[in-house]
């Protein structure tokens, strides 16, 4: 069956148990389409009709708003953005086929939510240019190639120091939170800065404790910048 551009397909948000509260009647999903539930066995999928199109930031936000609406009441299994099915039958088939898998994941997740923390060094010591071509120094009599290689070696050494600093940050963060025994996933670095990111799975009742602990670490380490985001649906743990 061929689908053309502009023809509606079903956009998947998340899966929960069929007895969990459904979306509010006026909940709008992507492009303002109403969000509805589709049931199969013990599960319910949250879906809306969508016209095929690129993932604009607006659409990602709309997707996330639906996810947070679900997350507020019960932790869902979030789908990755951009997966569309052609009709109710396909969604039902998906739920039936993966029921055991989804059910045990929901059980394991329980009431937990995902929190994210990113750490970067605060005021970087910008004593040297990062890129060898910026290196102004030309020692008398040194060939440009030699100067370049020397600078390149210095840059690589600097990158190595940065990597090991990042690993240290990660260790101290994990150590700091060790007693909370949170499942953790390292999140992708962000950009050229030295940065470490971790996603944690935190019980709702412990989110405040988690935030307090990061705040304490922040006061203890004024040399670092901390960014905490969440609560998220458990994207990194499913």
């Amino acid at each position: 069956m061929k689908r053309g551009k502009g023809e509606p397909v079903l956009h998947l948000y998340c899966v929960r148990r069929s007895h969990d509260a459904g979306p509010a009647g006026d909940l709008e999903g992507i492009d303002g389409a109403p969000v509805r539930q589709l049931f199969a066995g013990s599960l319910a999928a949250w879906i809306s009709e969508v016209e095929v199109g690129p993932p604009t930031l607006d659409r990602l936000r709309q997707h996330e708003r639906v996810m947070r609406h679900a997350l507020r009441s019960t932790t869902p299994i979030p789908f990755r953005y951009g997966q569309r099915l052609l009709g109710d039958e396909e969604v039902r088939h998906l739920l039936e086929e993966r029921e055991a898998d989804f059910t045990s994941t929901l059980e394991w997740l329980g009431d937990r939510v995902e929190m994210g923390v990113r750490i970067t060094p605060g005021e970087a010591k910008e004593s040297q240019p990062r890129h060898p071509s910026l290196e102004p120094a030309k020692l008398a009599g040194e060939a440009p190639g030699t100067a370049y290689l020397r600078a390149r070696r210095a840059a690589l050494a600097e990158a190595e120091v940065a990597r090991s600093a990042a690993a240290d940050l990660l260790d101290s963060l994990q150590e700091w939170l060790a007693d909370l025994r949170l499942p953790a996933v390292q999140s992708p670095g962000s950009g050229p800065e030295v940065a470490v990111g971790l996603a944690h799975l935190v019980h709702r009742g412990e989110v405040r404790i988690y935030l307090d602990r990061i705040a304490e670490l922040r006061s203890a380490r004024p040399d670092l910048r901390f960014v905490v985001t969440g609560p998220w649906a458990p994207y990194s743990f499913v």
Binding site: R3, G4, K5, V9, L12, V52, G53, P54, P55, T56, L57, L60, R61, H63, E64, R65, R68, R72, S73, T75, I77, P78, F79, R80, Y81, G82, Q83, R84, L85, L86, E90, H93, L94, E97, G110, D111, R112, G116, E123, A124, E126, H131, L134, S187, G191, P192, E193, H203, R204, G205, E206, V207, R208, R225, T229, P231, W232, A233, S236, V238
Partner: protein, 89 residues
Amino acid sequence: MTDAGAANGGWSAELAPDDEIWSDGLDDEHTLVDLVNRLLDKGVVIAGEVTISVAGIDLVYLGLNALLTSISTAREHLGRQVGGEARQG
């Protein structure tokens, strides 16, 4: 609250559904970076098990490049604001 993982999700008084912690925040730059990383790179993938609109997927990835480019530009901008250096072009 050490056993808060009950299957029926008993609510903690510390995090009610109307708690301010759920406030949107989806315009915040840091949250947006995390949002993109999560929505496009995490979460359950069903590809290969069901029929997916091929045209849709292609468009998603086409659009993705444009989006990620703009995010990385935003990051560079952020990096400069906090004292980082402009990257070499």
